[in-house]
Symmetry: C2
DNA sequence: CATATATCCGACTTTAGAAGTAGGAATACT
DNA sequence: AGTATTCCTACTTCTAAAGTCGGATATATG
């Protein structure tokens, strides 16, 4: 329960864009409707995604957002990091180890927290929005017809 | 960064008790000193651990807390669950699936969140306080002399 | 029995961050 | 010109975490 709604919305937005394809942009309102969230809130999120180079925007009528790179090149890890900060479950297990815990005995718990951290990162890193969109069966995949769900 | 300090303190307290051994109880103040936390706050935490059957207490002078079972039988998962609730990173990925996400396309992100959840649970389940204490080199292991750290 | 040492219990305070609103400026298509 | 869009920033609201505090209850020991 540590993924915030903001992160949730952001990942869903990126997925929606991946499914939609990069040919034409999608307006915030369109996106907001698809992922069921208020437009003005999503605006902020899209701005952050833009700042991080995940999406790019076009203004004026017919404007909107589209992915800045091929969906296969965008990992879930990258998007999640933008909104969540460190992925370690606990402070003492961040990769930039800040404060060591004050327990007398070397805190052997940390090892386990680090295992959790690494497992989490590994999963998020190997998950890209290309496969996610493909699995969703979105029509943006035209050249690679999916034979069957597996 | 989703493990709260309360959970952190609780796991450290249980580890401290595991290291101390089950022969004699340890007072809250003693425990609080070892894990560097205020006594009154730790009291609440110990009460919760007691309610969950992890520790038992004795009142009066020479009283305090001790583990209710052999440390090997207490997994980290069990203790963490008491204070953290569901271990899924996001609501739609809890084992008691509550609300499905409102995206039109079947939300393929959920699969990944579930992977994270399962990996996390697996790690916490296979970690017991017996091994944690042993790794810490606490002297509560008298019968099983540790040859070398590995 | 008196006393000191503990657990027990519940009500209260403070703070930070999540979650979302609102209003208007800038830009670009038709 | 007019309209549809992004852009930007300030503000509000709410919840949960984190911790404090005061006193009641139990029990070992001299």
């Amino acid at each position: 329960m540590w993924i915030t709604r903001k992160t949730d919305y952001a990942t869903r937005a990126v997925l929606a864009l991946a499914i939609h394809g990069r040919e034409t942009p999608l307006s915030v309102q369109e996106l907001a409707d698809r992922i069921q969230v208020s437009g003005s809130y999503l605006e902020q999120i899209m701005a952050q995604l833009r700042g991080a180079g995940i999406v790019r925007s076009e203004r004026g009528p017919k404007g909107g957002y589209r992915l800045n790179h091929a969906p296969e090149e965008i990992t879930l890890e990258r998007v999640v990091r933008i909104f969540q900060g460190p992925l370690a479950p606990i402070e003492c297990a961040t990769r930039s180890m800040p404060a060591s815990c004050p327990m007398e005995v070397g805190c052997t718990l940390r090892t386990t927290w680090e295992e959790v951290r690494d497992a989490t990162i590994a999963i998020l890193e190997r998950t890209d929005f290309g496969s996610l969109a493909r699995r969703a069966g979105g029509r943006w995949v035209v050249d690679k017809p999916v034979s069957a769900d597996s």
